[in-house]
Amino acid sequence: MGRPMTVIACHECDLLQREIQLPPGRVAHCVRCGAKLYRVENRSIDHTLALTLATAVVFIIANSFPIIGLQIQTTRNDTSLVSAVHMLWHQGMWPVAGLVFFTTFLAPSAVLVIMIHILVALKRERIPAGFTHVMSLLQIFNHWGMVEVFIIGVIVALVKLTHYGTLIPGIALWSLGVLTLLMTATSSSFNAHDIWNRVHPTPRRGGNQ
């Protein structure tokens, strides 16, 4: 990147400072408030895309199989994420059902779809369709996706259920654990600052949307 004189403002304290050249993988922090300003790309698009696709596969598995089954005498009841949402809905708790569905299914899947869309386009050296819109959607969905909280919730539920009957851990339980790790790796590999610079290195003149 041959742009030595770029001036940026800290998004948390508004301080103006020059963007400096950093070795790959290093993070620039604001000199005044210490907020993270940007991270220098150290992973290729291929690397991030591979991680994202792996996350998507595990995400599908985690949502297609039961998380836990509970057996009391001869009755067995399995639950997946979607069936838990369905049950809440039927108990008249539709706002809670909606919240759970949005934070654990809709937002994470939207994040994955958007990331794959952007990365595939970049790999083919094209500007992703609707780039500015999908980038702002990505910010919102990233904020509301809470898979890592959900897995801890599942563990707490498991402990509370031990005295009810026999618990049968499902495939999705293990998948959720793997998914949490993969999602962390994916989001730390996906560098929005770098992608903005890659798509629009210099401001366009006129023709605003």
Binding site: I8, A9, H11, E12, C13, D14, L15, L16, V31, R32, C33, G34, A35, Y38, I68, G69, L70, I72, Q73, T75, N77, T79, A84, V85, H86, M87, L88, Q91, M93, P95, V96, L99, V100, T104, T132, M135, S136, Q139, H143, M146, V149, F150, I152, G153, V154, I155, V156, A157, V159, K160, L161, H163, Y164, H193, W196, H200, P203, R204, R205, N208
Partner: protein, 219 residues
């Protein structure tokens, strides 16, 4: 650095909240758009303090039913029982899982309460244009943003329990009205934190006197 702190706002520059690009602000009344991504530009989040207060006050009000009303209703052969958040934690503690009891206590009681207090503190200090400990307040805001999502934990626990324990007369667990209030508290505090503009913490520290010099440099 403290003598040469120049903020974007003091120089008539606006940074884009979506893509981070810095661009020159106009003087007209019409809304400005980022030349790179087209997002609407604001010097500070519009009505940030008022919106943040509105969400926060709503969260304070709902925090009461969230803790008083049962979050979960259990009925089994041995009778019916209604659990609030606190009684669920006490149950975990007595059943020997003190570590999980601690996790749930932190996520469901401590985090929401500390978040409400932290946001109140931030909003009051910003409104009084306080110059007190800006660094500590900036860190506080970062923590609020980081841990806020963990309060959703109890909602997920109830969702899983209510879905699994549906064995007719033997045992049935249903989500209670407390879950509704609690979920609303989590969402409202997250909205409140998002509406709050952390740059307001630092604004009282940056005098406008650098403005003219810097404008000349940019022109």
């Amino acid at each position: 650095m403290s003598d040469t702190t120049v903020t974007a706002a003091a120089c008539g520059l606006l940074s884009c909240h979506a893509c981070g690009l810095l661009s020159r602000g106009g003087h007209g009344g019409r809304p400005l758009h980022c030349p790179r991504c087209g997002a609407t530009l604001h010097v500070r989040k519009p009505n940030g303090v008022a919106r943040s207060w509105a969400f926060l006050i709503a969260a304070y009000i709902l925090y009461i039913p969230a803790n008083v009303l049962p979050i979960m209703e259990t009925s089994s052969l041995f009778g019916a029982q209604a659990d609030t958040i606190m009684s669920g934690i006490i149950y975990l503690w007595h059943s020997g899982s003190w570590d999980l009891a601690l996790v749930v206590f932190i996520a469901s009681i401590m985090v929401p309460l500390l978040k409400l207090i932290a946001l109140t503190l931030l909003l009051i200090s910003v409104q009084r244009r306080s110059t007190w400990q800006p660094m500590q307040r900036a860190k506080l805001y970062r923590i609020v943003e980081l841990v806020g999502r963990w309060s959703m934990l109890d909602i997920y626990v109830v969702a899983i329990l209510a879905a699994l324990v549906q064995i007719g007369a033997l045992a049935t667990i249903n989500a209670g009205p407390g879950a509704l209030a609690f979920g609303a508290v989590v969402v409202l505090t997250m909205f409140s934190a998002t509406a709050f503009d952390p740059r307001l913490i630092w604004d009282p520290l940056s005098p406008d006197r650098f403005c003219k010099k810097e404008r000349i440099n940019h022109e």
